[in-house]
């Protein structure tokens, strides 16, 4: 696949050079399979095979881009896309900076993250997994929902500057299973991310769902009082906050535009708790990490927050050009951030529930539909969802209705942070909008914060 994509791009490169065009040429290929479940049934079983070409023409302080979705063998249509970008370029208005054309110094191909057995799992394999994960959990009221997205993504890019290319191929699966009570309108879920077939563990999904099901069927439902509470966030919720932090805290372009919690003078300052170390780079197992960026730069793993100290901002080439900065090797389809684990040897919900405690703890595995209320304040609002529990200080467990928090990132990862689990896990953050692009974050399994303010407490799950 990658070889065919590279040959196609090399042919287009020749075509562009014959027209004296400077351009970056990229091909994206996805073979996606998504099985969706609702009310105990498969509600949809889809496959999409899509090839996308992108041609960005570079001129004197200007760029223009033509994209095309077509077949991989539609070379004539692809040449027309090159022509189109060339025709658009003179009409682009001049920029205040010169954009940098990629000049890839050597071929880079990475297929270590591709497992054909996962990418081509097929409907039977998917349904076997689902059957194992849900075995014995459903009844007349409790039915299974969710989705199993699996597939392969291939990427190849080069430019007219050199004949070398950067290419990669990844397999991935993103699985969410939901057990829903139609009568009581609650939902519990379990999620899994996979890069290879060996990562699939339906029994772990079943164990998690079974534990939560037991709590939700037998424990008293409660509406929490408004005000501060100690919260232990699960991996999904922590990943949500980390995802915001990676942009609102570390993106150089966002900082320059006033959409960051930091300013340049914060570099070298302790801005978060000393417990917070955030890395990004290829040494991030399970997070679909890429060794080389689209400019052919080899990437290393760096700490961007180092024990709470901001070490710098992330600059892709475009932002670096615009703001006269040094690029950091981040022209990528996706980043691979990791929040390093802490020292609390409590690494799953069952252990948390069993651990002694001197105050009530609200366990929030997942935040639903978060929004940025104020980017420069890092103020994020969202609602608890999917299997929250109230762990009473006397050892009892209750099932809370959903609550809303509106908290600042600098508090979540700063003064309000109490502890992080000693083990981390991968949380899949892939979006199925647009083209397939597997992505994930590595986060501690649990994160405990104090004084989280319940500002709305609802009467339903």
């Amino acid at each position: 696949m990658l070889q065919q994509m590279k040959e196609t791009l090399l042919a287009l490169r020749e075509y562009a050079l014959e027209r004296n065009l400077q351009a970056q040429l990229s091909l994206h290929r996805e073979d996606s399979h998504l099985t969706r479940l609702a009310n105990g049934s498969v509600s949809l079983n889809t496959m999409e095979s899509v090839t996308s070409l992108s041609v960005t023409a570079y001129g004197d302080r200007r760029t223009a881009t033509a994209t095309l979705v077509c077949g991989l063998k539609d070379l004539d249509m692809m040449r027309q896309a090159v022509d189109r970008a060339a025709a658009m370029l003179p009409h682009a208005s001049r920029l205040s900076f010169q954009p940098t054309l990629p000049s890839i110094p050597a071929d880079s191909t990475c297929e270590t993250g591709y497992d054909a057995a996962l990418a081509q799992l097929g409907s039977a394999g998917i349904l076997d997994y689902i059957s194992d994960a849900a075995a014995g959990l459903e009844d007349e009221d409790l039915t299974l929902g969710g989705s199993f997205s699996v597939g392969g993504t291939a990427w190849c890019t080069l430019s007219t500057a050199t004949p070398h290319s950067v290419s990669w191929r990844l397999s991935d699966a993103q699985i969410t299973l939901v057990l829903a009570s139609a009568k009581n309108k609650w939902e519990i879920n379990a999620e899994q991310s996979a890069q290879s077939l060996d990562d699939l563990d339906p029994k772990a999904m079943r164990r998690h769902l079974a534990f939560l099901k037991e709590q939700y069927l037998t424990r008293e439902a409660v509406r929490l009082p408004l005000g501060p509470v100690r919260v232990v966030f699960g991996a999904a919720a922590t990943a949500e906050y980390l995802s915001y932090l990676s942009y609102l805290g570390l993106d150089g372009s966002a900082m320059k535009q006033g959409n960051s919690i930091h300013r340049e003078e914060d570099i070298g300052q302790r801005t978060l708790s000393h417990k917070i170390t955030v890395t990004e780079g290829p040494d991030c197992p399970g997070a679909f990490a890429l060794p080389t960026d689209d400019f052919g730069r080899s990437r290393g793993t760096a700490a961007w927050y180092d024990k709470g100290v901001l070490r710098g901002f992330i600059w892709d080439q475009g932002a670096a050009d615009e703001y006269a900065q040094t690029p950091t090797g981040h022209n990528l389809a996706h980043h691979s951030f990791a929040l390093q684990p802490g020292d609390m040897a409590v690494n799953d919900l069952q252990a948390l529930a069993a651990a002694p405690r001197d105050t009530d703890i609200l366990y929030v595995p997942y935040l639903h539909y978060t929004g940025v209320v104020s980017p420069s304040e890092g103020l994020i609002t969202g609602t608890s969802r999917f299997g929250a529990l109230l762990l009473k200080k006397d050892g009892a467990i209750q099932v809370p209705y959903n609550v809303r928090f509106t908290e600042k990132l600098e508090d979540i990862f700063g003064g309000k942070l109490l502890w992080l689990s000693s083990e981390s896990t991968v949380y899949n953050t892939s979006s199925t909008y647009g083209s397939r692009n597997p992505s994930a974050l590595r986060v501690p399994r649990l994160m405990c914060c104090d004084q989280i303010n319940v500002e709305i407490s609802n009467k339903s799950y």
Partner: protein
């Protein structure tokens, strides 16, 4: 080029399928221009083509799509295989509600196709508006222009043949500045419906310059303003936030697939139960809401949906009582079965797919609040003792069953004893859906009513972004929690 769609569909019937349809997009052209602080950072044009096949086999759906027209037969076979695989885990076979079979064509109203406008003219437009935004207090300027032209052919095994050609144009302006505390404040503008058509003819530079001047004035007022108080008061929602309130807390919870649990793993469910139809008091008797896909010139009007059902105008809430939902052929049969009666008389014609590579889902059309009888904004302010007028969709966050919400706004000013008072910054309000609509105290008349466009409603897995509209008046809700 003629493609053998009907032959391929017939083959599926011979292989045991009970129904199948294909959507073929021979051409979709799009363009995006992004100018930030005078720099044209994105200047892109895109084309795509492809087809998607949906097959119903023994009550189970299968779907396959490809951008490769050399793989038509294989893709049809894959869709059938997917349906056959699905049948292995199927607790309730899918039935489709009856429909009238149509042969038809729909073209969205457009005088000047944006794709035919010279690039220089498009870029010059952005430059002119950017100049208007470049004023004291403004630290960041953003102009975004997205256009789209899609031709879709639809065929199904019942004999339907529908061609749709839909052109969209979505301009957007945004500015930011820093307030006295160093925090970022912003103001944005996306035009509502501006007339009977929506091609390049709506891009009147004088009009956008006027909007730019207003935005700059309101941003500077906000930058100099004190913080919004945190208290409980009446909120008077302008159409540019009322549309989002309706979208999130009436539109989404009334999608029948959400009500039936089809979105639980991702977007969420709905607090509405099937037993609520015809009985639930959703709001005060001032609240009447409809799903009107026949409205003139809106992205939520499309002629025929992607089930091949003709567009309709249906009531959702009548005088405060829940009476209808946003429905498709599949969901109404399931809902009726579960209700034990034929409450839904047929598909509401709202199944739409965002692309050839996605399957149709219940999507909002034009979910609109009927205008009321409480006059103009000024009339409403004059009758408000303690309130705040809110404008702009700065942020939004909604509970998974749409039972509660939090919205932040770009611009707001207080109202005391029927008088406009000072502007305040960092405005936000929150509440619970049913108590909120049951506190609807005043609904502006037709002079306050306008159709807001939504270019980016997200739903489904694989995810889909859809375009639609909301006709909304100025509305006042009492006893609402405001403040950050």
């Amino acid at each position: 080029m003629t493609h053998p769609w009907k032959e391929e569909l017939n083959k599926l019937l011979l292989q045991g399928a009970s129904y199948a349809d294909v959507r073929y997009t021979p051409r979709e052209d799009s363009a995006a221009l992004v100018m930030r602080n005078g720099n044209l950072l994105a200047f892109s044009a895109g084309s795509e083509r492809g087809f998607g096949v949906r097959v119903l086999y023994q009550g189970a759906w299968g779907f396959a799509a490809s951008s490769d027209l050399g793989s038509i037969t294989a893709t049809f076979a894959r869709a059938l295989d997917n349906a056959k695989s699905t049948a292995r885990r199927l607790s309730r076979p899918i039935r489709l509600a009856d429909k009238q079979v149509h042969t038809g064509r729909f073209t969205s109203p457009c005088l000047v196709d944006p794709a035919q406008v010279p690039y220089d003219e498009q870029v010059a437009f952005l430059r002119r508006v950017d100049t208007a935004l470049q004023q004291t207090g403004v630290e960041q300027r953003m102009i975004f222009l997205r256009t789209q032209s899609r031709l879709t052919e639809y065929y199904d095994t019942q004999g339907a043949q529908i061609v749709k050609e839909i052109r969209e144009i979505f301009p957007y302006l945004g500015i930011q500045g820093r307030d006295g505390d160093g925090e970022t404040q912003s103001r944005r503008y996306s035009p509502p419906r501006l007339g009977p058509t929506r091609g390049w003819e709506i891009m009147q530079a004088d009009f956008f310059e006027e909007q730019a001047a207003r935005m700059v004035r309101e941003l500077n007022e906000t930058l100099a303003a004190p913080k919004c108080p945190s208290d409980v008061r009446s909120v008077i929602l302008m159409p540019d936030i009322m549309y989002l309130q309706v979208h999130e807390t009436i539109g989404h919870p009334l999608e029948l697939d959400r009500i039936l649990g089809y979105e639980l793993s991702y977007a969420g469910g709905s607090f509405v139960r099937l037993s609520d139809f015809g009985a639930l008091r959703y709001g005060t008797d001032k609240l009447t809401v409809r799903a009107d896909a026949t409205m003139e010139n809106s992205p939520g009007s499309f002629g025929y949906d992607d089930d091949g059902v003709e567009a309709q105008n249906n009531l959702l809430i009548k005088d405060g009582i829940l009476v209808g939902a946003i429905t498709s052929r599949q969901m109404v049969t399931e809902a009726n079965d579960k209700m034990g009666r034929e409450y839904f008389k047929g598909s509401g014609g709202t199944a739409r797919a965002s692309s050839f590579r996605r399957t149709p889902l219940e999507r909002m059309t034009n979910i609109s609040v009927d205008p009321g009888t409480d006059g103009t904004l000024e009339d409403i302010i004059a009758k408000t003792e303690k309130g705040i007028v809110l404008s702009g969709d700065k942020s939004w966050s909604i509970g998974s069953n749409r039972e509660q919400f939090h919205f932040a706004n770009h611009y707001g000013y207080l109202v005391e004893d029927g008088q406009k008072k000072g502007v305040v910054r960092s405005c936000a309000y929150s509440g619970e859906t049913l108590p909120f609509y049951n506190s609807l105290a005043m609904v502006g008349d037709e002079r306050t009513w306008q159709v807001e466009f939504v270019p980016n409603c997200g739903k489904g897995m694989p995810s889909q972004t859809m375009q639609l509209g909301h006709g909304v008046p100025v509305c006042r809700f009492d006893n609402v929690k405001v403040g950050e």
